[in-house]
């Protein structure tokens, strides 16, 4: 069986401070910290790797400080990594390391190759622009120049993300958190990217609102066939959205496996603690 990945990450690492590899010796899950006493540097992430195929959703679970957000930001380009390789099938058929691109080339990838949905919708949206306008930004960045078609596509996306069309011309700043998240989803999917990163997509939303957004995300992932990476500390989210996942602790991946397997038969001591706490 051959699974052509849409996203492949290998050896991804981020060290804050002196990039001295001796820091690796006294950091990590076995040591219990990400900060090196030897060099004073923080190994936020090290040796992180995974693949995601189209139509698959991969979870990255960890508590705060685990490095999961660092990994996401390094792939997204919001942060520079120290080392590693990130390959996108849509970029030069996966033969160019995204991390080697200059910042403007990385920004261009964010138009139609790689989308990010942030925990705080304000990070992915312009609050002083209308819902339709936010989507128009993504479309015009991709070269759309026909007002009528831009509007139709924006309406279609907002409808798909269950945002009332009557609010299409309202400023996003007037929307509730859940509604803003839906607009962010619509914008992220506007140019049909093959890869989408979701960072704690429902954290901070009220439970009932979160359930609706989660449901929506699940439907969208199924219907669009994107390759998705879902970063979360919440097992319910990971369980609902992903088929495989990796567990991170103090910057390293401690375990990887099928999501249901990880939740019912965790191997690594840290995974067991984490699952046990979640189940409680």
């Amino acid at each position: 069986m051959n699974f052509d990945w849409a996203l492949k990450v290998s050896g991804l690492g981020k060290i804050h401070g002196v990039p001295d590899l001796r820091a690796l010796e006294d950091t990590g899950p076995d040591v219990g910290t990400a900060k090196s006493a030897l060099t004073g540097a923080i190994v936020a992430a090290w040796d992180v790797g995974f693949e995601v195929a189209p139509g698959e959703a991969l979870g990255v679970i960890g508590e705060s400080g685990s490095g999961k957000s660092t990994v996401m930001r390094c792939i997204a380009g919001d942060q520079t990594s120290t080392t590693g390789e990130v390959l996108l099938r849509s970029l030069d058929r996966g033969r160019t390391n995204v991390l080697d691109l200059d910042p403007s080339a990385r920004r261009r990838l964010r138009v139609a190759d790689l989308s990010v949905v942030y925990q705080d919708p304000a990070e992915g949206l312009r609050l002083n622009v209308t819902a339709g306008g936010n989507i128009a930004e993504a479309l015009t960045a991709a070269g759309w120049r026909h007002f009528g078609r831009i509007r139709d596509r924006a309406a279609e996306l907002l409808e798909r993300t269950e945002v009332p069309l009557s609010r299409m011309d309202d400023l996003v700043g007037t929307f509730s958190g859940g509604m803003r998240q839906r607009v962010q989803l619509a914008k992220a999917l506007a140019n049909e990217p093959p890869v989408v990163l979701l960072d704690e997509p429902t954290t901070g939303l009220d439970a009932s609102v979160a359930a609706g957004v989660l449901d929506l995300i699940r439907n969208l992932l199924e219907e669009t066939g994107v390759a998705a990476v879902v970063v979360s500390h919440d097992f319910a989210v990971i369980e609902m959205l992903t088929t495989r996942c990796v567990v991170m602790n103090h910057g390293r991946i401690v375990e990887a496996g099928l999501t249901d397997r990880l939740l019912e038969d965790p191997h690594h001591p840290y995974s067991q603690r984490l699952v046990g706490a979640a189940r409680a």
């Binding site: 693949e51 449901d215 099928l258 397997r261 038969d265 191997h267």
Partner: protein, 251 residues
Amino acid sequence: MTEHIFSCRGLTKDFVLHTIDGRRVEALRGVDLDILPGEHVALAGSSGAGKSSLLKCIYRTYEPTSGTALLRLRSGEHVDLTRLTDQEMAHLRGRDIGYVSQFLRAEPRRGPLDIVTRAGVSRGMDRSTARDAAVHSLRRLNIDEKLWDVHASVLSGGEKQRINLAAGTISSPQLLLLDEPVSALDPANREAALDLIGDLTTQGVAVLAVFHDIEAMERLASRIVLMRNGRVEMSGDPTMVLDVLTQGATA
């Protein structure tokens, strides 16, 4: 061995509980089992015997500690389920191997028709074929058409269980694993469910099932495997095994 759809040897599962004191719990201690196409094998035994653990090990919800588990795919190829990568296993699930558990997994805001149709689509069916099959199954299992669009979370346990069964059986896998699939059903609905399951074996699906219901076992099983302490204790003709079981209960 090639005529079997499924064949496991020495399947073992140990849990090492780091959160306690690293103690080891042995759930399966070496299980051998063969299943032919069209066979309905029922697993019997008291709780803790390892019945559910066996199903989960085959489906890779538990990762077996050792042993092999060969499955013959629709393509004719044989694969060892214990050696597949996560992606390969995820791909097989729902296609060549099906699993129906007692619990409805995280489907709160979809209606039964939607759930079962999507299950079909994810197995590779086109949307309209899946929908037709879903309609057929739901009718067969007596799910009132008025409920087809109602969010599953508000339905009864029995209704959820039947939806689960419909979703799990919408496309015929090579091997179907059933874990207490009718426990919440009243007699009439149970009847319909067992009927559906029975039909699957007629179609050539190999079934490995856990029922606590002796009647169901009697009715469906072509063979009963009695498990105890993580091992197969006895395997054979249903009447014979059940006699042993009931004798053991009264003794």
